[in-house]
Amino acid sequence: MIVLRHKVRKGSFSLDVDVEVPDTGITGVFGESGSGKTTLLRCIAGLEQEDGLPVHKRNVGYVFQDPTLFPHLTVRGNIEYGARRAASHRVDSAPVVDMLGIGDLLDRKPDSLSGGEAQRVAIAAALLRSPDIVLMDEPLASLDRRRKDELLPYFDRLHDELAVPVIYVSHDIDEISRLCDHLILLEDGKVSACGDLFDVISRVDVPMLSGQNAGVVLWATPIGHEDGLTRFDFGDGDIWAPGEFAVDRNPMRLRVAASDVSIVRERPSQTTILNVIRATIEAVHAVDSATALVRLGIGNQDLLARVTNRSIRRLGLKPGDRVFAQIKSVTVRH
C-alpha cells in the first residue's frame, strides 16, 4: 500500500488527505474542478511545498495536462531527459517507445507533433525515469474528442502492461471507469470515498456520484457479434453494445450511466431498445424532490437507474419488486 498523507493550505482552500492506495494498478482521483485533485498530485511530487524532499529526489513520473515538451530537444532527447537523470534503470526504452507508438517520431522536434503525439512522448519521458509512482493530471483533458479516442487505447495498454502504480486525476467519469482499478473521491480538499472502483463508482450516498455521474461499471465477456454489435455475457444474461470486440474469454468493462437506464414492469413487446434485462429492485435512494436512484440487482452485479419520484409512485416501485431494466446505451472499455 502507498500512504498519501498531505496537508496544505492555499488561501481559502485547504487540502487534507490521508488515504492508502494499492501499490498496483491505476488509482483514479475524481472530483470537480477546485476540489484539490491537482494540488494533491503536486503535493505528492513535491511541487507544492518548498520544504521536505526536493522534487528531483522524489522518484515520480509526472504527466501534466499539457505536455510542454522541451522545444530545444528532439523527441529522443525529450524521452531520454528523465532516463539520464534516473537513479535506477528498471524501465527499458524500447518497449515503452513501442507501447506508446512513438518509434517514428524520435528524430522530430516537439513543435511538429500533434497534441496526442506530444502527450505520448511526455508519458514515455515520465515512464523512462523509472519512477516509483506515475502521476497523471488529466492527461487527456486538453485534447479534442478525436485525439482523445486516438490516445485512449495507449492508456489501456499502460493499464495492462505497466508494473508501476499510477495515480490518475480526472473529472471525466467515463475515463475513470475505463482506466482505473481504484478510486478516490475528492470533495473540497477532503476524501469523501475511497476503494475498489466497482464499489465506489456505484455509491449513491456521495453527492458527486448521485448527480450527472451516477452509474455503474459491469464486468462482461464478449461472446459474439451480430449487425455490428457485440453480445456480452455479464453472468446472468446478455448485453448488446455497439462495436465489434474480439471474442475471447477476458471480461471487459461496460459503463452504464444511471440516466440511460429506465424501469418497466412488463417486458415491452415492441421497442427500439435492445437491452431489456430482468432485474430486482434492491433499494430506492431519493436524490432530490424530483428524482431518485434505484439500485437494481442483475445476478451478481448491480445497475443504477435514474427515475422520477413521480414514476416510482405511479408504478408503486419498492425493494424486492421484479422488474425489467431498459438500457439505452453502453460504453465499452476497449
Partner: protein, 221 residues
C-alpha cells in the same frame, strides 16, 4: 595610436563589464523573474535606476562610495593598497552598475517567457534547480543572453558621464574613447574627433542592425 589606445581601452572595459554582468546579472534576472517576494518591485526598481538617473549623479555617488574614504573604496585600499577611483578596476565597477539594467532586462524578459510547467516538468524528471537552469532554461533563453551581452557591451562602450566622474582622464588607464573624443573637441582637433566618432557611430549601427536582423530571423522560426 591616438585612435587605438582609447578605443582598445573602451573595448577592454566593455568586454570585462559584459562578462561580469553576465555572471552577476543572470542570477538577479532569474530571481526577479521567478520570485513572489514582496521585495521584488523594490529590487526591480533599484536595478532599473541607472536607466533614468543622470550619469553624473550616478558617477558622483560612485565617486563618493569608491573613493579612498568611501565605504567600498577604503576597503579596497586596505585590500590592494591602491585606490579604486581613477583606475581601470574602478571603471569596471562603475560600468557594471551603470549597465546592469541593460543586462538584466533582456534576460529577465526571456526567463519570464519560460512556461512554469516546463520548468516543473524538468524537476519531476530528476533535474536539480541548477541542472534545470542549464538544461532547459538557459538554452531556451539564448535570445535574452545575446540581447544582454550586446546591450551591455554597446552601452559600456558609449558611456561618458560616469567614466568622467569616477575615472577621470588618464591615458591608458581610464581614458576611454568617449573621453578622448571630448578631449579632441575641447582642443579643437575636429579631425581626430571625427575619426573616433565615426568608429562609434558605425559600431552602434552595426550592433543594432545585427541584433534586429537576428531577432527577426529568430522570431520568424
Amino acid at each position: 595610436m591616438n585612435l587605438f589606445s582609447p578605443l582598445w581601452l573602451s573595448v577592454q572595459l566593455a568586454l570585462v563589464t559584459t562578462a561580469v554582468l553576465l555572471l552577476i546579472g543572470t542570477p538577479i534576472a532569474w530571481w526577479l523573474s521567478r520570485t513572489s517576494s514582496r521585495f521584488q518591485p523594490v529590487i526591480q526598481t533599484i536595478v532599473a535606476m541607472p536607466i533614468v538617473l543622470p550619469p553624473t549623479v550616478l558617477g558622483f555617488y560612485l565617486l563618493v562610495l569608491l573613493g579612498p574614504d568611501g565605504a567600498i573604496g577604503s576597503w579596497w585600499v586596505q585590500l590592494t593598497g591602491s585606490a579604486l577611483t581613477f583606475s581601470f578596476s574602478g571603471l569596471v565597477i562603475a560600468s557594471c552598475i551603470y549597465s546592469l539594467p541593460f543586462a538584466v532586462q533582456p534576460m529577465q524578459n526571456a526567463f519570464e517567457a519560460l512556461p512554469q510547467q516546463m520548468l516543473e516538468r524538468s524537476r519531476t524528471l530528476g533535474a536539480s534547480r541548477l541542472d534545470m537552469f542549464f538544461s532547459v532554461a538557459a538554452p531556451l533563453s539564448l535570445r535574452g543572453f545575446v540581447g544582454a551581452m550586446v546591450l551591455s557591451f554597446a552601452h559600456t562602450l558609449g558611456e561618458f558621464g560616469v567614466v568622467l566622474m569616477v575615472g577621470g582622464n588618464i591615458p591608458g588607464e581610464t581614458r576611454v574613447i568617449s573621453i578622448a573624443i571630448y578631449d579632441h573637441v575641447e582642443t579643437l582637433n575636429y579631425a581626430a574627433a571625427h575619426r573616433m566618432s565615426l568608429v562609434l557611430l558605425a559600431f552602434a549601427f552595426i550592433t543594432l542592425f545585427v541584433m534586429f536582423a537576428v531577432n527577426r530571423r529568430w522570431s520568424s522560426r
